[in-house]
Symmetry: C2
DNA sequence: GCATCCAAACCGACTAGTTGGTAGTCTACT
DNA sequence: AGTAGACTACCAACTAGTCGGTTTGGATGC
């Protein structure tokens, strides 16, 4: 298992990356926040790439746990997707977790170490999988209507959520995220019958 | 007007930023590509923030010129939006201009200098304006159907395009951009009548 | 025609600070 | 005695940016 310090380093790295991405945060930043000297961080995480990979693995783990929790709590597929989007809405509103790390790193992709790039791709795949599964279930239950294949609609939905995060940052407005995602959800729901 | 060297610095900075964003490119990188010594770059652009602002202003100028060209060449609003999306599709395919700089910098927003941030916001506003105008014109001509206000749909469309760029990077697949944007365009077009 | 002046362009050498990472040491706990 | 965690003291490489100085191609005055 990971020690307490390693855990603190991870969560600090996470929030720094959420704010700045990969290249704009440093071991010195973590050192300051965790109140531990820089070489001690290297003791727990020898390289920056390794640390970031660990953060991304935890991030993906949270995604898998989170969607599983949604699946077990909410029966309706449309409701599940709503819950997913609302999760981010809340995060963006209270500014604790203002961005999906994987989406952020996707922007920096060409300047990332290979190991990190692989992790980003994995996250996108995992999210796409869950969205696709959930959309398909919604169609089967006549709760969701799609104009394209579930795979395509899952990709589109994911892009919309990530793009909405970009817009929220660019316009420094949490409002715009809700506006965009509400419109996307509205489009998905099948007319009552 | 800008000299030839300044112009070369600008285009080099542009492509470096397109690849890496703000914090992951340096004057040394430009120096190497332009084959000019580092202090000479400072002669033309005293600060990095200033250089990036210049790049963004040119980028926005191109957006305005580009959309104006589309407006004058293409009569149909839906066709105009298609042309806009296809422009990026082409850029992503041949990898010359693989990302909208403003969208890339939006991800880094919190670590950007103020002046740069303002420029990013301006770009988002300019694009949103054009999309909204064009969508409204399409509705008037019964070419485009919207489920929400034109402003909302413009935001959603913009988010989708930007998110599709992120996905294309994350999955290193130009295909996925086309898949996503095709679906978005399909949704916009009103049923024939 | 020719000296003078000027400004733009450029460059070598440098600064102060930061980057990720290393070596070796001390300490506390098992 | 061994080990995990933390430390001080480094390192080479890189960061944006500065300084003083040279080269260049015109303009201007005579």
């Amino acid at each position: 298992m990971l020690g307490e310090t390693a855990e603190r380093i991870l969560t600090t790295a996470r929030s720094l990356m959420m704010e700045r991405g990969y290249s704009a945060f440093s071991y010195a930043d973590i050192s300051e926040a965790v109140e531990i000297k820089k070489p001690s961080i290297h003791h727990h995480f020898p390289t920056k790439a390794g640390l970031v990979v660990a953060v991304l693995q935890a991030h993906r783990e949270r995604l898998i746990q989170g969607t599983a929790a949604i699946d077990s709590k909410i029966e309706s597929p449309l409701g599940r997707i709503q819950a997913y989007v609302q999760h981010w809405e809340g995060c963006i509103r209270d500014k604790t977790v203002p961005f999906c790390i994987a989406a952020l790193l996707a922007a920096e992709m060409p300047s990332l170490p290979e190991e990190v790039r692989a992790e980003v791709t994995l996250h996108f795949n995992a999210l796409e999988d869950w969205l696709e599964r959930t959309l398909k279930a919604g169609v089967k239950k006549h709760e969701i209507q799609l104009q394209n294949s579930a795979a395509t609609e899952a990709q589109a939905l994911m892009a919309m959520v990530h793009g909405a995060m970009l817009s929220a940052r660019a316009l420094s407005s949490g409002e715009v995220f809700k506006t965009i995602t509400d419109a996307a959800l509205k489009r998905l729901s099948a007319p009552k019958r």
